[in-house]
């Protein structure tokens, strides 16, 4: 009972913050509402027993990615988003209609409940603790994707430094 009510609370916070992200005019406030949404999602992961994923969500998403967003927003010194013109209004209307269509589709699919039921418990009992279980699978079956992800991150770092510096010598400043 407590778990379900906590889940409902976190879900409400996540959905409302998500709405505020796309509705608010100021980019910094949108970023802060997104941080709140991520923290609510981390709470949901904790409720589901995925505590490693929940903590990593806060460390990576709320603590690093959103800080990077905030740096860029403050560096660019943006003013409020101004939306004028008929074409803009038509585009926005179509966007909301599409969102409403997708939401009704989703609701209809969920009502029919076609997803599979829970499978039997695994033959080998999982090691105690969420982190150990992830580690066991990550370093045996998923070792190759793990190494590839390391290469992806390295390539991204090098790419960001190259793109951030600019083509002309002395034109760009260092970006992280």
């Amino acid at each position: 009972m407590i778990v379900e009510s906590l889940f409902a609370a976190f879900a409400a916070v996540a959905l409302c913050s998500g709405l505020m992200v796309i509705l608010h005019r100021n980019a910094v406030t949108s970023a802060l509402f997104l941080v709140l949404a991520f923290c609510a999602l981390a709470g949901i992961y904790l409720l589901m027993g995925a505590e490693f994923v929940g903590m990593v969500q806060i460390i990576v998403y709320a603590g690093a990615i959103m800080v990077l967003f905030l740096f860029v927003i403050m560096y660019l010194n943006l003013k409020h988003d101004v939306e004028t013109g008929v074409q803009v209004a038509v585009r926005r209307g179509l966007g909301w209609i599409l969102g409403a269509v997708l939401l009704t589709e989703g609701a209809l699919l969920l009502r029919r409940g076609w997803f599979p039921g829970p499978v039997a418990a695994p033959a080998v009992p999982p090691p105690a603790g969420n982190t150990e279980a992830i580690g066991e699978v990550l370093f045996t079956r998923y070792l190759f994707p793990f190494e590839v992800i390391a290469m992806v991150l390295l390539v991204a770092m090098v790419g960001v430094i190259v793109v951030g510096k600019g083509l002309r010598p002395g034109a760009g400043e260092e970006e992280r």
Partner: protein, 100 residues
């Protein structure tokens, strides 16, 4: 135990909100944030199904999605900063030099 339908409903809601954000907003940074919201909705589905089917691999996939999202955000923001330096704007409909 949290019913699977609830988690899927929350995830669908978040994904739709992110989608509407990408379609409606002009600011490239807010569009990027909406994409992150969509990725998080997908993460929630992975973890929810992982719990439902007693399989840890859902959370392993979330691990990879987070790493890829971090890399993508870094590169995307560097591109946006460069765009701002050249065009003095981050509004996506003002970057229309290639428009027919």
């Amino acid at each position: 135990m949290i019913p699977l339908t609830w988690s899927l409903a929350v995830s669908a809601g978040l994904f739709t909100i992110g989608l509407v954000g990408v379609l409606v907003r002009r600011n490239a940074l807010v569009i990027f944030m909406s994409i992150e919201l969509m990725l998080n909705a997908a993460n929630l589905v992975f973890v929810a199904f992982g719990q439902h089917m007693n399989d840890i691999e859902g959370q392993v996939v979330v691990f990879f999605v987070m790493a890829v999202a971090a890399a993508e955000v870094a590169v995307g923001l560097a591109i946006i900063v460069n765009l701002f330096r050249l065009r003095e704007t981050v509004f996506v409909d003002e970057v229309n030099l290639l428009k027919g």
